[in-house]
Amino acid sequence: MNLIRFIPATRKTGLAAFETELLALLPRLRRFARSLTHDGADADDLCQVTIEKALLARGSWQVGTRLDSWMYRIMRNAWIDTARARSRAAETFVAEEAGLSVGGTGNAEARVALNEVDAAMRTLPDEQREAVALVLVEGLAYKEAAEILDIPMGTLTSRLVRGRQALMARLGEAA
């Protein structure tokens, strides 16, 4: 039997403030998902799981606190669960091939750039990739990123610097 969850709706807008705000965040969440998963299809699956988790946990989000940080955290934890559940060897193998053909809907040049960056991101350890994604792609402050990842500032900066050095080497001086 399929079980259904009902979301309270305000009569005026039909959507609760939570949904409205979350809807506005979706583009950024998709971008974060892409930089974590380095694959378009995986990214949207991750978005779906994240939204499901957020809707279930909405009671624990405090109005007035930042919804984006809360969502980034849910997404990052969901991705850890997903990645853990997969066979790492199989994932790397498949992704290596799939990455070449996967791109966004933008122009060819943008797709090539994205594929190149995706491929470089794939080589990073998870802990470095998530730090890079939050700071360099999402543009968060170090402190915000450290809070989302639940690590001290010093840990964040050392992961970030190692991740960046690896990316610079990988992407060459074109970086």
Partner: protein, 232 residues
């Protein structure tokens, strides 16, 4: 003076306090290699943010947006679990559903008593239950039945529409269990224009997935009504 890589990176990102910024600037002025390192950090940052920017500019796929714009969201499929856990979870879900019935559906249903919450979930009551029991598909009335069908578990289900709620109800020994409800699409008595919603499309798609076979035809429905929708 040595500048640690972390410090240089933080400088490149503009993340340092003014005093430390000055200190790093002095070091950079004396060491072109450091300046080059800062430039590389900044190039990498803009390269990454530019590469991923198109993702955020892309339209969000409908299936993701629909999770937030629809009033009803399907629960993720759960792997089979031990009976106890699953039962507890189901009753929690039913409880959550009950809470919200007052908000989403409650515009009239509670008052008319068309839905009742039981230990086993939500059930049709009053005029809704009556219509589900006796009314033929397509017949006019405050409640309209769109289609009747036999679900994969062999029980009968019916898709209904009313001013208060649309949904799918399935017959079990305890009555008409509400499997799916959404805000009503049928015009209220007294007329008035009602915007066409996606609810009927979505309900029909859900019904399609639940069906064991074809929908009941008029004769089959008549027989089912006569036998009080008892599953054979």
């Amino acid at each position: 003076m040595t500048i640690e890589p972390e410090l240089l990176m933080a400088y490149a990102d503009g993340a340092l306090d003014p005093l430390t910024t000055k200190r790093v600037e002095r070091a950079i002025a004396n060491d072109p290699a450091l300046a080059e390192q800062v430039a590389r950090h900044r190039r990498l940052k803009s390269k990454l943010s530019e590469a991923y920017a198109p993702i955020a500019d892309d339209p969000v796929p409908d299936r993701l947006a629909a999770m937030l714009t629809s009033n009803v969201v399907q629960m993720p499929k759960r792997p089979p679990r031990a009976r106890r856990v699953s039962a507890a979870w189901q009753s929690a879900a039913a409880m959550a559903a009950c809470l919200v019935v007052g908000v989403v559906v409650g515009r009239g249903m509670d008052r008319e008593g068309s839905v009742m919450a039981t230990d086993h979930g939500l059930y049709a009551a009053g005029s809704l239950a009556q219509a589900l029991d006796d009314q033929a598909s397509g017949a006019k009335g405050p409640v309209r039945i769109a289609v009747s069908f036999r679900a994969q578990d062999n029980g009968f289900c019916r898709v209904f529409q009313s001013a208060e709620a649309d949904g799918i109800a399935c017959r079990d020994p305890k009555g008409w269990a509400l499997r799916r409800t959404m805000p009503g699409s049928a015009p209220r008595s007294g007329g008035g224009y009602v915007q066409a919603g996606s609810s009927d499309v979505e309900l029909m798609a859900t019904a399609q997935n639940m069906m064991a076979d074809m929908p009941l035809d008029a004769a089959g429905e008549k027989k089912a009504i006569a036998s009080h929708w008892r599953a054979r």
